[in-house]
Amino acid sequence: MNTERFDEAIRKKLEGLDQKPTEQEVDQVVQHLTRKHVLKPRTGLRLSTVVIGVGSVVLVAALLFFALRYFNNDETSVNTPLIDNTADSLAKDSTAPEFQQPVTPAHMDVQPLPGERDLQLNPPQPKESQINAEIRGNLPRSGVRAYTERSSNSLAPQEPGKLITEDSNPAVTHSADGTDRVSKSGSEAEVPSGISGNQNIPRTEDTVETSLKQKVSAFSAEESAGNPPAVILQDTMAAEPVKSAVTESVTDQPGKTVPVTGGKPGNFRAELLRVGVVSQLASENLTFGAVGSFKLANGLGFDAGFRYMDFSQQKFDNKSDFDRHDHRKKNDRFDDKLRFAEPNAPISIHSNLIQVPVAITYSIPLPRRFSVELSMGTDLDLNLNQRLDYRGRPDSTGAPRDERFRTQGGAEFFNNLIFSAGVEKQWKSLVFQFSPFLRPQLKQVFYKPRETEFGFGLGVYYRFGLK
């Protein structure tokens, strides 16, 4: 046998030794190439990572939700040293003769109740006891927080010592000697002559707070007669208790945890994690937010994030126009304010909302790194802020008063669905998304004027992983 035949025999023998590799062997090569930065790193996201990631998002959302719910809870009282000195004076002089007079403001449902002392509220009603306690030092903090701010033209000089009364809300004033006082502004036409007997406390905390302030204001006004002109408390000062309320409402429940449960996700492996910013434009609102997405190898995915929704300002020509359009009962929270609105002055409402959008998605890849993404989900409403601008009735100086009233809370957690079919284009590590959507309301809420909304969203994502 010559050498050529020997070599050929060996060569033939060695041909066809190729073996089909296992997935593990391929993985090892891919990992080696990834470590050498030849290939882009794969997500490395396994089932455990997906569960932890989704669980974290749910946990954060749930904590926020419960924190806000707790904050908005009617039973939660937060010490707000807004009228400390006045409350002391009030407690000291609560038996003064002027307090024996009945209070009958036009917008309050006042009914005489049996009682011994002025401002002594009915013990069986928790609201009243709360108020009773708050009168001694603090104001109660309600679920629907509200405060009033004045425009500059409301700061008309008051006559020194003149009784300042009649308004829906009192304002804390700083006298020239540096002493904080609670006073009211307005005409004397509707000045309550005093506070006497027990009173039926309105249901809403807002009204409770209002009536309480009125009582305090009436007393304080009497006491402050002869003092120098008052200065209205600025917006920032009124807002300070809000911050403390948030802080305390969260810290009041240490160790409060939300159980995280997850179903068995099967053998799906996460192929991609991406994070981005998304904006949605609809007919009556605009949203901005940050969204994180998990994508599985089979095309399914899960989106979650946070979103700020800013509603278009609703403008009404006058009070009649407002009432005519008020088919969503906005008056429920604004009625107390608008009762004193100038009938022919314009009214506007501006709302914004903090949401947690969650959605299940399915991606269909297209050529040239395009893909279609179908999604179905909901926007969970966490926190609603509303601002009412109106013109109040002229005060004693005859000057018009532009009033601004803010409320917070009252958002319905789950009220809608959102369907979208979008197109995505991948460029390097970025993904650009255009997604028209349809957002039907499952439950009508007063702050969303349309039953079904449509619009489009634009998003930019940064992707981690192989897809």
Partner: protein
């Protein structure tokens, strides 16, 4: 569940489509390319290495070079040939890095004229491969390059940095060693061969 399975934008069995997708840095295509040619590269790498670790190193480095230089690949030529050249060059680099000592030639045991193709046929391909891998690095490189890959002595000498004479010498020795191994694997053949080639004095003693 086929409806939920993600469709790939290329045919993973079509090497041209996979290569095209790899050039777009499509991660799925890159993985598909590895999967498609893993066996081929591994079989080549095993011929040039004595142990599994060396083979894996050659394999990994070969794929690294493939993805690094994929843009230089001319589609008019066969990808497998281009890939083969990369693997061989990688193996030669590994040999140069490790084997600095020239192989010392052993005495020529003589040509085994009794050697037949039947002897090779009786041995499995895995056994043949194992025999090739058991050669010393210098013998293995020259034998593999010349007998299996088809390079000339001149090319081998240039690639390995040795003289043509050394290449020829190593090839001859490699063949003889392989033949001996094959004979050992065939006891009947080996016995006949051994008796015939024993030195005269020893033969007499027997």
């Amino acid at each position: 569940m086929g409806i939920f399975r993600r469709k790939e934008s290329f045919d993973p069995t079509d090497s041209n489509a996979v290569i095209t997708a790899c050039r777009r840095n499509d991660p799925q295509a890159q993985r598909a390319l590895v999967k498609l040619y893993y066996g081929y590269v591994k079989s080549l790498a095993l011929r040039f290495s004595s142990d599994q670790m060396d083979a894996e190193e050659i394999l990994n480095d070969s794929f690294l070079k493939v993805f690094t230089n994929l843009n230089t690949y001319n589609e008019s030529q066969e990808f497998k040939g281009w890939l083969r050249r990369i693997v061989i060059n990688t193996a030669i680099d590994a040999y140069r890095k490790r084997s600095k000592i020239p192989e010392s030639s052993e005495p020529d045991p003589g040509i085994i004229n009794e050697f037949t193709e039947d002897a090779i046929d009786r041995i499995s391909a895995e056994e043949i491969l194992q025999m090739v891998r058991s050669l010393t690095p210098a013998y293995r490189m020259v034998f593999t390059l010349y007998a299996i890959e088809g390079y000339t002595h001149k090319e081998i000498a240039e690639m390995l940095g040795i003289s043509e004479g050394t290449s020829k010498s190593n090839l001859r020795d490699a063949r003889i060693r392989l033949q001996k191994m094959i004979f050992k694997a065939n006891p009947n053949l080996y016995k006949a061969y051994e008796l015939k080639n024993l030195p005269t004095d020893e033969h007499r003693k027997i």
